[in-house]
């Protein structure tokens, strides 16, 4: 071998080695990785907003698959109650919901799986924020507020989980692979955590009046208080429930919108009686793409046929009959045949192509107000009014009743009735002192049903007050089983059997 060839071979050897060093260390050019995030106040805020993000999930991919599953609050709260039935194009449209409506749903349903997965996804972002934000050097007040928001949202998810499923795994940090399999904690422990998180949130969240306009929709002291009051009510802890309701009612932060119907319009969003609303905005979604900006509820609940909806959540006759004669709230809650459906035409059976006599109204929006993105079925802007001031007032009534203060209870119910009658004194006469004892309790329940109808409360109210087996008997409700939904079968399997199934499923 001559010198030249030796040289070339040497060169080759060098070239091969030189190229090896760090050639494969390619860093993402856009975005960061988990390792280098959580550095500053901006990261802390982004991590907090990420906790909110999941609240908007209504139609979600089942974990790791292409399967989509809707899991609206009104699926379980309304359709599984006596307020409404499923609707859709027929029994085969969302068949699993049809089964749940008739209390024959089972643990293999993707609906309960979606509910479970979305809640824990939301909890994971809260846990991440609560775990990592304390270590960031930043303004203490902002930090406390972010932690308060994450605590509130975590409590919100656990509230949904414990009311849906009963005992559930209580996850308070991000899990290492060795910790992936977790058993259920008792519902008492879950409730205790909810109360702890909400107490912390109450101490660290701003009052609504302290929010700037641009911050509308962020969690407040009022939201944490109201949810805490509800948590106590669900546990029949009436004294703390009453105290907190009173706190909210005397805070001067909220008042009832004089026009009930206005609450459910665009201008009624985040209105004077709005305590906790999940925010949505107009978005293109007919391609089922950007799911987290707009709400699917609008199109799902709108009538079929020329109205371009899917016709779900059809009010029951039983529910319509619950309204007292002339109660203006019926007209704000239910469309009846012959009603004008905004700018979309007059409601007739022919126009909807379906035999249903009623449609849900609270999520109806005009075509002209929809996203102007050229999408024939865009996602809607309607916020989900999760906790309204009326809810707090009625919990005040209920707790006062249980604490023996019937006068205060009647007074609170009458506040609601007074607003509802909209100045027409002939309607919805106030409860007099003759309404007492069990009649008063029934009156409170009645008021809840019509005031909060089609807002996703009814099923959980019936279960909470032990009335499921009576009111839902026709649908097959069995006491001791249907107070909660089945734990998703897949989750039981993946927990290695640590998670057990609910009774009767």
């Amino acid at each position: 071998m001559n010198q030249k060839t030796t040289l070339i071979i040497g060169f080759l050897a060098v070239a091969l080695v030189a190229c090896k060093q760090e050639f494969l260390e390619v860093q993402p050019l856009v975005g960061s990785t988990e390792a280098n995030f959580f550095q500053n106040a901006d990261d802390a805020e982004s991590a907090t907003i990420a906790c909110y993000n999941n609240l908007q999930q209504e139609v979600t991919n089942i974990q790791g698959s292409a399967q989509l599953a809707p899991h609206f609050r009104w699926y379980f709260g309304d359709i599984c109650s006596d307020d409404s039935h499923k609707g859709g194009s027929g029994d085969g449209d969302e068949p699993e919901l049809f089964l749940f409506e008739n209390f024959s749903g089972n643990s293999s349903s993707k609906l309960v799986l979606a509910e479970w997965q979305v809640a824990y996804r939301g909890i994971a972002y809260c846990n991440l924020a609560l775990d990592r934000i304390p270590g960031i050097e930043m303004d203490q007040q902002d930090k406390d507020r972010f932690l308060g928001e994450a605590s509130f949202i975590r409590a919100y998810w656990y509230f949904n989980m414990v009311t849906m499923f009963g005992d559930v795994p209580l996850i308070l940090g991000n899990l290492a692979p060795s910790e992936y399999q977790q058993a259920r904690s008792s519902s008492n422990e879950v409730w205790a955590q909810i109360e702890a998180d909400l107490t912390f949130a109450r101490e660290n969240l701003p009052r609504r009046s302290e929010l700037s306009i641009a911050e509308t929709g962020r969690a407040t002291w009022g939201a944490a208080s109201a949810l805490l009051a509800k948590a106590h009510a669900y546990q029949e802890e009436w004294q703390p429930c009453n105290d907190i309701c009173l706190d909210v009612m005397t805070s001067g932060e909220y008042y009832l919108d004089p026009d009930y119907a206005n609450i459910f319009t665009e201008s009624g969003e985040n209105g004077p009686g709005s305590i906790w609303e999940i925010q949505y905005m107009n978005a293109s979604g007919g391609n089922w793409g950007n799911q987290l900006e707009g709400s699917f509820t609008n199109v799902f609940q709108r009538a079929r046929g020329q109205f371009g909806g899917y016709g779900f959540n059809i009010p029951e006759q039983n529910f319509v009959d619950e309204f007292e004669n002339g109660d203006p709230r019926l007209g704000a809650t239910v469309f009846q045949v012959g009603d004008q459906m905004g700018d979309r035409g007059v409601f007739s059976l022919e126009a909807t192509g379906m035999p249903h006599l009623y449609y849900s109204k609270k999520f109806f929006i005009n075509a002209s107000d929809e996203a102007p993105f050229g999408d024939p079925n865009p996602n809607g802007f309607s916020n989900d009014r999760v906790i309204r001031y009326a809810d707090v007032i009625l919990f005040h009534a209920e707790s006062a009743y249980h604490l023996g203060n019937e006068g205060l209870a009647r007074n609170s119910v009458n506040i609601i009735r007074s607003r509802a009658r909209g100045g027409n004194q002939a309607l919805l006469v106030s409860l007099g002192t003759d309404v007492t004892g069990p009649d008063l309790l029934d009156a409170i329940y009645h008021e809840r049903r019509v005031e909060l109808g089609m807002e996703g409360h009814r099923f959980f109210d019936l279960v909470r007050t032990g009335r499921g087996s009576v009111e839902l008997a026709d649908w097959g409700f069995v006491s001791g089983t249907h107070e909660v939904f089945p734990i998703p079968e897949v989750e039981i399997t993946l927990s290695g059997g640590l998670i057990t199934q609910n009774n009767g499923y």
Binding site: K4, T48, L113, G305, Q306, L494
Partner: protein, 1019 residues
């Protein structure tokens, strides 16, 4: 960049080094039987890798290293011949017919090998097969040509991709083979002009593909483009064809009268009154034929020029082509146009240094219609649209249906409004230098780039099919108030630098040894930018640009974009050892690293060994006159499959975009967080394959047999194993799953000559069994394949079953009476006329636990049969291709919508006791969910297709000489002339969508039947 500069300097350094002595030999190769020139003959200097090819006049030039070099002439169908140069400058050769083609040199990874010596499983397709049938895409040239290579179209729309499965579906992820074009790994081969291709080799077993390491797991398709040869007279070739495409089948659907009858029945079954418009069905007559509205005859055309030239020390091949194809749906709205330009050049600088360049530029224009989905595809809508609606009103405006809404909008209007364009400009170029360090030690360095610029433009005009303004009856999808525009720019750029050293020596004991060692570095970078805007000032496509908006102040255009990169390195060595004439041994090791692999598994090592035993000289073989050649092959090896892994799949990226809306102005506020769990162990999928095979030539080469048996196991297969929900983040893929493909392949060829009559008949067939063997901890099945019309996921991937089999309810006929239905308590909502779904586990309820396998989309076998005959100036070919035993899922109809049109099978519905045991009653309410996923929707997808039949005539030589034309052939041909199938849908050749959706027909865009006339001329 620094490394790139080093590379360039290095190439230059070699270019200016060393000019030493060699020798050019030229000559003419002719056929012994008639003395005509043989083009395309391989000429190799024995003991080296110096090779050349003859041109169309049989001329060749080759650089040899020594005066007494021995030249080996080989050509498919002819016995190879060794001729000593013996110091001469011109060496002519005359070759004898030999059907077997044993000595043919075929392209393998990083080199060439004689067929007789090959120990792996390699399929080849030669130029003649590629150009004989006018193929629109290069992949089509592979269909039916090589055993075990299954090619299916993913759509009949011009420009659509094809899916290729070499020896079964070996992955849950990316199952497509690696394409290597002139040594450059390439994403997609749609930029190639098929006429530029010289040969295709398909590396099927692990040993052949092992030198491609972490990317060879799904097999490798090696494509070599044509180069000129030295000392060749300038030659021009012109090829052209014109074809007319047409749909070959319409589905038999209800006419308007039948539709009216069935809809009335369906409404009445649900307690609804008949619709006014359908009250008198007999008055409705035939109604609209929507298939006729969307299908049309559509032309296609190809022009291709090539020019080759060679001098003493260089050669040049220039090719250019234009191809255009309109769609049988939408015509020019579904058009694909391709312009290609290629220059391949080779130069000698002295006799020790050679260099060459391949430069390809391709411009693609594609206009595409939505296809193969049940929501907005033109074909799907045409099948579902009710026949009582006319496509157009008498005034020429498009009409909407009053029967059906939701996704089913007027498809004719959709075609008219469609503006979806892709324009791609792709430059692929490489330059290499090759230097003989010693006479048998050669160094080669190749630098290549692949730059692709893709523009996407979608304009959605506003429209309104309503009668008058604000017609309240028009369905939501029949008007769009605001127009919108999307413009996107994408750039993909790759570079690769590859260095190899080849050592080739014939040892004194007659053994020969060849070593190839090399290093390869690859870098990918892609960026994209998209902009969107609505409310454009004009509804005219011509003025559809982002700055042309009505409300420029109110609504700013939105934009998105990103960039991502990856890097890949490989080192490899292969040793071939020829032990006498009887044994060929080969071993390969490759070590690959990728930036896509997790930090704990950055590099993988992929070994293989193989051996071939030439038994021809064994006494018991030699004594049998009818055996000309017999070889046994065996190989084992491991490859990786890594191309399905995303750039940063191993880490948990923090995404911006976990947003939320705040404020009365509803402002999106940025939220950020991880989405997936991270997986630092992420690595390639390991494909391990064992192959045994036999090659035999019998009866004087008239019969040629290749048979193979293989077992291919994919381990470490990436699967997203569901995590417990409490983890919160989405699971990332982990290397946990396994699958196995095993099968046998046969290829048989017979050719003969009787006087002026030449004929050949060949066939290949492959039987492949596919099974998932592991899905990781828990073994949770993977459900895919959402079919909306039947409301479910229909494909299931589960241990012990084939990948993505069809999963649903088994049916057992129809309830004939209400009593019978009432007696079956597992179906509480059933009544007479409803489907009996089988309660498999006898738990008294039919629910999702009762779903079972209802079909297998994988064929029992696939095959191709090729017949050729020529008599004097006439030639004839017939090519059949088929698939047997695969099921298809017919999911084209939107049963969820109640009022779609239906196949005529619906006329056989149940209407009373004893009327039908197959098709249930029709009901708007459908309380029994008769249309849930069941075996009712699974059909036998077997087919046999006459892919190509062709008759050609070569004009006589004397006529040609008068016209001063070298050779001229004219032909007529038909593609897809006949298809034999039981499948009821528009086309049985339904491809895949991703890897885990196989054979699901959602209103498939069928392939066309095409009649073609063409001409090939050489000057």
């Amino acid at each position: 960049m620094k490394k790139l500069l080093i590379a360039i300097n290095f190439v230059f350094a070699i270019m200016v080094t060393a000019f030493s002595q060699g020798k050019a030999v030229t000559g003419v190769v002719t056929a012994a039987e008639d003395g005509t020139a043989l083009p395309g003959v391989t000429v190799v200097e024995k003991g080296t890798q110096n090779a050349s090819f003859t041109d169309l006049d049989g001329n060749y030039t080759i650089q040899v290293t020594k005066q007494d070099a021995i030249l080996v002439f080989s050509f498919i169908g002819y016995t190879p011949k060794n001729v000593s140069v013996a110091g001469k400058d011109a060496v002519n050769a005359s070759l004898e017919m030999d059907v077997a083609g044993l000595e043919e040199v075929i392209v393998v990874g990083y080199g060439n090998q004689k067929r007789s010596k090959i120990s792996g499983a390699v399929g080849t397709i030669d130029t003649k097969e590629i150009t004989s049938l006018p193929v629109l895409r290069t992949e089509q040239a592979l269909q039916g040509r090589a055993a075990g290579v299954q090619v299916t179209q993913n759509s009949g729309q011009p420009g659509s991709t094809q899916s290729i499965r070499i020896r079964g579906t070996g992955s849950l992820n990316n199952a497509e083979p690696l394409y290597v074009i002139d040594g450059i790994p390439s994403a997609g081969i749609d930029y190639l002009n098929p006429a530029d291709i010289a040969s295709i080799s398909i590396l099927k077993d692990a040993a052949s593909a092992a030198i491609y390491g972490a990317r060879g797991g799904n097999g490798v398709v090696l494509i070599t483009t044509k180069t000129g040869s030295k000392n060749q007279k300038p030659q021009i070739t012109y090829e052209s064809y014109y074809g007319m495409q047409e749909p070959w089948k319409y589905m038999a659907l209800l006419n308007a009268e039948e539709y009216g009858i069935l809809m009335n029945e369906s409404r009445s079954a649900a307690g609804l009154l008949p619709l006014e418009a359908l009250s008198n069905p007999s008055a409705l007559g035939e109604g609209e034929d929507w298939q006729d509205e969307i299908f049309q005859r559509a032309p296609m055309m190809n022009h291709s020029f090539s020019f080759t030239n060679g001098t003493e020390s260089s050669s040049t091949a220039v090719g250019g082509s234009y191809f255009v194809q309109d769609g049988i749906v939408g015509g020019e709205k579904g058009r694909f146009e391709r312009y290609t330009f290629r220059i391949n050049t080779r130069q000698d600088a002295g006799d020790k240094f050679r260099m060459g360049q391949n430069i390809n530029f391709t411009h693609l224009d594609r206009s595409a219609l939505a296809e193969n989905n049940e929501f907005n595809s033109v074909v799907g809508r045409a099948l579902n649209m009710d026949p009582t609606t006319e496509a157009m009103r008498p005034d020429g405006s498009y009409a909407y249906s009053t029967m059906i809404d939701s996704d089913i909008a007027n498809p004719a209007n959709q075609i008219a409004l469609n503006n979806d364009f892709w324009t791609t400009n792709r430059f692929v170029g490489s330059v290499f230098g090759e230097y003989d360090i010693l006479s048998n030690l050669k160094f080669r360095s190749t630098m290549s780039v692949d730059l692709s610029l893709g523009s996407h433009r979608v304009f959605s005009p506003s429209y309104d099919l309503g009668i008058g303004p604000n017609d309240p009856d028009r369905p939501a999808y029949e008007w769009r108030e605001v127009n919108g525009l999307m413009l996107g720019e994408n750039k993909w750029s790759n570079w690769q630098w590859e260095n190899t050293v080849t050592y080739d020596k014939e040892l004194s004991n007659g053994d020969d040894v060849q070593v190839v060692a090399g290093y390869s570095a690859l870098n990918n970078l892609s960026t994209n930018f998209y902009g969107f805007r609505d409310s454009l000032a004009s509804n005219d496509l011509q003025y559809a640009y982002l700055n042309n908006s009505l409300n420029a102040q109110e609504q700013a255009p939105s934009a998105s974009g990103g960039t991502t990169a990856s890097a890949f390195v490989g080192q490899f060595v292969r040793l071939n050892y020829g032990l006498g004439d009887a044994w060929s041994l080969s071993g390969t090791v490759r070590r690959d690293g990728s930036s896509r692999f997790g930090v704990n598994n950055r590099y993988g090592i992929f070994p293989s060994v193989s051996a071939a035993w030439n038994m021809t000289e064994l006494p018991w073989v030699a004594e049998k006159d009818w055996i000309d050649f017999l070889k046994l092959r065996a190989s084992w090896g491991q490859n990786g499959n890594a191309d399905g892994i995303g750039n940063f799949d191993y880490t948990s990226l923090v995404y911006n975009g976990l947003n939320y809306t705040f404020g009365s102005e509803q402002v999106q506020t940025n939220g950020a967080g991880p989405v997936n769990t991270s997986n630092p162990d992420l690595k390639w999928e390991t494909v391990e394959q064992t192959n045994v095979g036999i090659d035999a030539d019998l009866y004087d080469g008239k019969l040629n047999i290749v048979a193979d048996y293989f077992v291919k196991s994919t381990n470490d297969m990436l699967a997203v194993v569901p995590l417990p929900g409490v983890v919160g983040f989405l699971p990332s893929a982990t290397n946990v799953a396994s699958a196995k493909n095993s099968g046998v392949e046969f290829a048989v060829n017979h050719r003969n000559q009787v006087g002026d009559f030449n004929y050949s008949i060949g066939g290949n067939i492959a039987f492949i069994r596919n099974e998932v063997t592991d899905l990781g901890e828990g073994g949770q099945p993977v459900a895919t394949g959402s079919v909306f019309g039947i409301g479910d996921l229909v494909a299931y991937t589960e241990i012990g079953q084939p990948i993505a089999y069809f999963y649903g309810y088994e049916t057992d006929g129809i309830f004939q009476t209400d009593e019978e239905a009432a007696a079956n308590t597992s179906l509480p909502n059933a009544q007479a006329g409803d489907v009996i779904f089988v309660d498999q586990n006898s738990d008294g309820v039919v629910d999702s636990d009762d779903k079972v396998m209802i079909g297998n989309p994988h064929p029992d076998f696939t095959y191709g049969i090729n017949m050729e005959a020529s008599y004097k100036n006439f030639d004839f070919t017939l090519f059949l291709q088929g698939s047997q035993g695969n099921d298809l899922l017919n999911g084209a109809f939107r049963y969820d919508l109640n009022t779609t049109n239906l196949p005529v099978a619906a006329l056989e519905r149940w209407t009373g006791e004893g009327t039908s045991n197959l098709y249930p009653r029709i009901s708007h309410a459908d309380p029994n969910q008769n249309n849930r996923i069941s075996d009712r929707f699974v059909e036998d997808g077997s087919y046999m297709r006459i892919k190509n039949v062709q008759l050609g005539y070569t004009l006589p030589d004397n006529a040609m000489q008068r016209l001063k034309i070298g050779k001229c052939r004219v032909y007529v041909a038909a593609n897809n002339l006949f298809t034999f199938t039981q499948y009821s849908g528009l086309d049985p050749e339904v491809g895949t969508r991703g890897t885990l959706e196989i054979g699901i027909d959602r209103g498939f865009y069928p392939s066309a039947r095409t009649f073609i006339a063409g001409i090939n001329v050489n000057f």
